[in-house]
């Protein structure tokens, strides 16, 4: 195996020659040697055709999965050295994950959904509720606290999911096609929220199929068949 560069202390996330193999009949490399560095406070978009490995990448960065080969370093911690429980803890604290399919708890209200990660992080009830209320207010859902997910529109659910991702004040925000289900107006709101969070210093990694969404980022990483095809640096100044 070739030597891989040491992870920079500056990096929020660093992938080194990461491979992910699935053994369903024929072995499939969903990721086949990806080296990628996300500096702290950066804003990166991931683009690529369906099945190219984008979600697999997000799962690895989001500590939901472990690589077959290579190194994944999140928030300065090498994932391979962490126990399952430590990974879970780091996931709860450092990473906020916005899923393409929302993944809200169907039987919990918006408020309880947003408070849920804080339950597992051991935050006292009063503090949880105050923070969840503030977060939901921040995404414009201050008047929807007691609604169940099926009483909310798609865009509102996505905003609850974003509020939940922010619950434990993560340094890294991951979003897998967060605007896939949204109309253009709601998309714009959600993207504006990401811009704002990035401006506050959060590292943002966002998967999208849409070029104009990707252009909110500082750079676009193009993936094809589990490999980095090219990295495109954007002139963010011109965008704003």
């Amino acid at each position: 195996m070739t030597a891989v560069p040491e992870a920079s202390v500056e990096s929020a996330v660093s992938l080194q020659a990461v491979r992910k193999r699935y053994d369903r009949g024929e072995p499939v490399f969903a990721l086949d040697g990806v080296t990628l560095d996300l500096p702290r406070g950066s804003y990166t978009a991931v683009m690529g055709p369906s099945g190219s490995g984008k979600s697999t990448l997000m799962n690895l960065v989001g500590l939901l999965d472990t690589p077959t080969d290579g190194r994944v370093v999140v928030d300065g911690r090498d994932v391979a050295t962490l126990s399952g429980a430590d990974r879970t803890a780091l996931r709860g604290e450092a990473v906020g994950f916005v899923f393409q399919t929302f993944n809200l708890m169907p039987r919990l209200t918006a408020l309880d959904n947003v408070a849920l990660p804080m339950v597992f992080a051991g935050v006292a009830r009063a503090n949880r509720e105050a923070r969840a209320t503030a977060l939901l207010g921040g995404v414009g859902l201050g008047d929807r606290l007691d609604h169940l997910p099926n009483e909310l529109s798609g865009g509102q659910r996505q905003r609850v999911a974003i509020a939940r991702a922010l619950a434990n004040d993560p340094t890294i925000l991951l979003a897998d096609e967060p605007t896939g289900n949204l109309d253009s107006k709601t998309s714009a709101d959600v993207l504006a929220l990401f811009d704002e969070l990035n401006a506050e210093g959060n590292t943002v990694l966002l998967v999208t199929h849409e070029r104009d969404v990707a252009e909110h980022a500082e750079r676009i990483v193009h993936i094809l068949d589990g490999r980095l095809e090219r990295v495109e640096e954007l002139d963010t100044v011109s965008h704003i």
Binding site: N59, G62, L64, D65, G84, A85, T88, A89, R91, G92, E93, F97, F99, N103, L104, M105, P106, R107, L116, P117, F120, A121, R164, A167, N168
Partner: protein, 365 residues
């Protein structure tokens, strides 16, 4: 009363006749073969304090004032049988008098409760009527002798003279004498009871009127109350073993039920488990959640089961006529076992839930 199974009754030998080789309850298949002469002779045996012949008088109804109730029979005793401590009120009846003693259930049969001093009109099976004065009310409605069985039904007690009317020509004396189906031979003390039992059987087999009156396929039975208690204990032991068996089977079935509900509940919520783990729930958090659920299920089940058990026990004892006792220590055991079953049965599904890989769980539809 002298018929108590324990205490005073430890000196009693219960005598009756039964078809050869049968082992029915006391008095089953008894024929009226013990003549008044036999009773007197038994009374003279060594170690015998007293002999109380017992029979029943067939009735059709009992009337108090304008109030008539149907009653099939009255129990008759040929000697004083009730002691004053057996009676709530009044005294025992005397032989030869038109007197009766009632148990509380019988006294309450009528719209206006019957009390000592009232007069009842008995309608005998053949339509004749007899007026009797109530002289005593018993303390309890439980069985007054081993031939009555359990149950707290209404019972009317009468002196054999004049109400026991079954008579035969006694082979010994050639006279018409009352012939009873059963008797209590009461020994001088518990230590004498086995000898009295032997002598009673010897006399009955060899010299009594009863021996000649007895049908060919029948034999005499003489059983001490101790033997009778052993029989009852045997039956109760079998019953207890049976109930325990049913309880154990119920527990096993209940445990499987809880485990199954938990498995289904875990499977149904696979996606939710995935979400919880994705937002930072540890294996232990998930395990705890499902264990709590299993325990709650166990506690609720055990409490509900205990209540149903109390109810069923109450109805069952009412039905059989045994006293109702709430076994608190067993109720506590039931709740504890229910919780344990909940934990044990919930452990596997909970552990399954906790191990679920969040990615797989999130993909689960």
């Amino acid at each position: 009363m002298v018929g108590d199974l324990g205490g005073e009754g430890a000196s009693n030998v219960n005598v009756w006749s039964a078809p050869t080789g049968t082992a029915g309850p006391p008095g089953a298949g008894a024929q009226p073969v013990f003549t008044t002469s036999d009773v007197d002779e038994l009374d003279r045996l060594a170690g015998v304090r007293e002999v109380v012949p017992r029979g029943s008088a067939p009735l059709s109804a009992v009337r108090s004032g304008d109030d008539t109730v149907a009653l099939q029979q009255a129990t008759t005793y040929g000697r004083p049988y009730f002691a004053s401590e057996d009676l709530r009120d009044g005294r025992a009846f005397r032989q030869g008098a038109n007197e009766t003693v009632l148990n509380p259930t019988a006294a309450a049969l009528f719209e206006e409760n019957v009390s000592v001093g009232d007069t009842l009109t008995l309608t005998l099976e053949d339509g004749r009527q007899a007026e009797v004065r109530v002289v005593g009310i018993l303390d309890t409605s439980g069985a007054q002798d081993p031939f009555e069985g359990f149950g707290e039904g209404p019972r009317v007690y009468l002196p054999a003279d004049p109400y026991y009317e079954r008579v035969v020509t006694a082979p010994g004396s050639g006279e018409r004498e009352r012939a009873y189906p059963a008797a209590f031979v009461i020994a001088d003390g518990p230590e004498a009871v086995d000898g009295v039992r032997e002598r009673t059987l010897d006399y009955l087999r060899d010299e009594s009127d009863a021996a000649s009156l007895l049908a060919p396929n029948a034999e005499f039975v003489a059983q001490t109350n101790e033997e009778l208690l052993d029989q009852v204990r045997d039956i109760l032991d079998t019953l207890t073993a049976f109930v325990t068996g049913v309880a154990v089977i119920s527990l096993v079935v209940g445990a499987i039920g809880i485990a199954n509900i938990m498995l289904v509940s875990v499977t149904e919520r696979t996606r939710e488990i995935g979400i919880m783990k994705a937002v930072g729930a540890s294996d232990r958090d998930v395990l705890g959640l499902f264990l709590v659920e299993a325990v709650v299920l166990g506690v609720v089940g055990a409490l509900f089961g205990t209540l149903v058990g109390f109810g069923a026990g109450y109805l069952g004892t009412r039905f059989v006529g045994l006293p109702y006792v709430v076994p608190w220590e067993w109720a506590v055991v039931a709740v504890v076992v229910g919780v344990l079953v909940g934990v044990v049965a919930g452990l596997y599904p909970a552990w399954n839930a906790a191990r679920t890989d969040p990615i797989d769980a999130l993909r689960y539809e």
